[in-house]
Symmetry: C2
Subunit: 385 residues, 2 copies
């Protein structure tokens, strides 16, 4: 039997597990270690402002100020999602038949970029090696991704090299700085993308900060106005309550907490190694890629003939159902990475000890094997019809 | 001197006026008669639920139930905006080179439909006359708009005629029922679009109900899943706080209030006529189209050589700055209709008497003339640089 992962159905199952836990054990029973905190820490005073035409007026002023402090640039555009902003940016700036060139530390880039390129009929090419990097005359946009999903970053020198190459040809440079806007700055002491010379940058307000899922774009007033027009035309802007949550997230943002987790992750990592588990370090925790999950299972004596994305999703679903620990594969959007990422800078890491976490991680590997042996994969991943 | 309206800048001015009024005189000083109430009437209990991964799980179940009661269908898709849902629906269902056929009571249709058709390289044609209406074999989607911006509606017979014509050729029928999902039902006693046989329908949760700006789409589970995939891929879904607001809006929805306003509008209309003003009736109030504003100004003895969209926007901006009455042209998204629409079913209509409203309407015409005569158009429409 061939299993092909239905990601819409796994997400529905994951969300249903969460719903069940909240209903029966309360919000505090959940441990969100995704690092995508997603807070809407807004007051009742904020709520009275949340009227369609009144809210934006009040919140726009604050988000402009806080966003510019965080990202640089002349003007800020709050977005329903980083992804919706990337789509609008490409529609606004890239003509059909021209080329988007993407430099990133590790392929592949975020799927929204090639997807939107294809939608409008633009070419798309990725480089992760600067020796091969070329910008031909038909290029209308250069994209740089500042960090990988695994929190590797590119150096200031590489940033500047790509930006200069693009600007020599008068090509706009856009930086996808989803988590980088904080990681690069708090941990690696780099400047903002705009201060490095980029024309535009976007960040996710739920990555390494306690804002809601959403995006903030920064750049010159002229470029932001062009993109804002597309965003408004298609309905992709962040609405007032999202902007209110972003404001609170930016106000509470703490580089120190990221720095603290950055230190503690070494200890966590040692504990895993002492248990014989090969995890990968991240700046604020550790992770297992799809293939790592398979390797750990095979270490336990199994030969497994199942796709790695399926295995990682089963692992994530069981970690949620048994230990109430939320990781992305069980609840992420279709196409999201299947990496199991434990972010120790998450607010919820205070809900359990390092020992508790290591126990849950180990025990869940055993349960994945049980599910496979007993033929319970579908029951584990999907809701009953 | 030629004035070309900069709608991004007028919206910024309008929102800034609102911000100023809230800061100095409080939320209650504003009178929102747009009929786009935009409530986020959520409790502090709701707020604790508003976490990225937890919120959707809790709210999804409720919105599915309430949405299906309101719209029919098997499954509901909550959207950041009606417009973002229309874009996703077209991307999911329409192949480049095929044709979208739109039947609507009055041209032109909502700009998002031809805009997205152009984006993906599809043909687009509109019919407002059923005698001319034809669906050729290359057609991949039939769109019906249930009501005009002016609240005219199409008959059940015309609905069924178009749906049957499309279904004879196995073509999917999508109904843009932005306000129609309530207007058609509460005032004209029509069935839901789905019950009329349509495959999909979408409604705006801020039109004739007190929900936030946002959209709800309904249809078969299969079609909704296809569209939901595109929505998630591009980041166009309604996030948890929006869904929470939609739930409250649907719970509070009152067909009776629409019916009441429908009766009172006759009285308002008579008062305007007795003052010599030619307004147009709407089911729940009255309106002036761009050209009506010009006519009223010329009745006052002026010959005006300015575009009508500019005149309507000046009128709307002055109604806001002097009487705190919010209408769309001063604060709407770029491309929004420049019709001055007074919706007496708005919650805020309780903040003023019919006499107060008529006085404000009349006085604002005089002030538009003043602004033109004194060359203060730019100061009125835009923020100072």
């Amino acid at each position: 039997m061939v299993f092909e992962l239905n990601e819409i159905k796994t997400r529905e199952k994951g969300l249903s597990l969460i719903n069940h836990k909240i209903t029966n054990y309360g919000m505090n029973s959940l441990i969100d270690l995704t690092g995508l905190a997603g807070g809407f820490d807004i007051t009742s005073e904020d709520i009275t402002m949340l009227e369609t035409y009144a809210g934006p007026a009040v919140f726009d002023e604050k988000i402009q100020q806080l966003g510019k402090e965080h990202l640089g640039g002349e003007k800020i555009l709050p977005l329903n999602r980083t992804t919706s902003g990337i789509a609008a940016m490409i529609i606004a700036l890239v003509k059909p038949g021209t080329k988007i060139v993407h430099y990133l530390p590790e392929k592949p880039g975020h799927p929204s970029i090639p997807r939107t390129a294809e939608l409008i009929g633009a070419e798309y090419v990725e480089y992760s090696n600067l020796d091969e990097f070329t910008i031909d005359d038909n290029t209308s946009l250069v994209v740089i991704t500042g960090t990988t999903m695994d929190y590797e970053i590119i150096s200031i020198e590489d940033f500047e090299y790509v930006i200069n190459k693009a600007h020599e040809k008068d090509i706009t440079v856009f930086v996808d700085d989803a988590s980088g806007a904080r990681l690069r700055r708090a941990i690696y002491d780099q400047p903002t993308a705009i201060d490095l010379g980029a024309d535009l940058s976007v960040t996710s307000t739920d990555k390494l900060m306690e804002g809601p899922r959403g995006g903030l774009m920064a750049g010159s007033a002229k470029l932001i106005d062009e993109i804002k027009l597309v965003v408004n035309q298609y309905g992709w802007e962040a609405q007032a309550p999202l902007v209110a949550g972003m404001i609170k997230g930016l106000e509470k943002y703490s580089p120190e907490r990221i720095q603290e987790a950055f230190k503690q992750k070494d200890e966590l990592y040692k504990m895993l190694i002492s248990q014989g588990v090969d995890a990968r370090k991240t700046p604020t925790g550790f992770m297992f890629k799809e293939e790592d999950i398979k390797n750990e299972l095979e270490k336990r004596g199994m030969t497994i003939d199942l796709p790695t994305d399926l295995l990682a999703t089963i692992y994530s679903m069981l970690l949620l159902s048994m230990y109430s620990i939320i990781t992305i594969p069980a609840v992420g959007m279709p196409g999201a990475s299947k990496t199991i990422r434990i972010d120790w800078s998450s607010k919820d890491s205070s809900k359990l000890s390092m020992d508790d976490l290591i126990f849950a991680i180990m025990d869940t590997f055993d349960h994945v094997i049980e599910v496979i042996l007993e033929g319970e994969i579908e029951e584990t991943l999907y809701l009953e019809d």
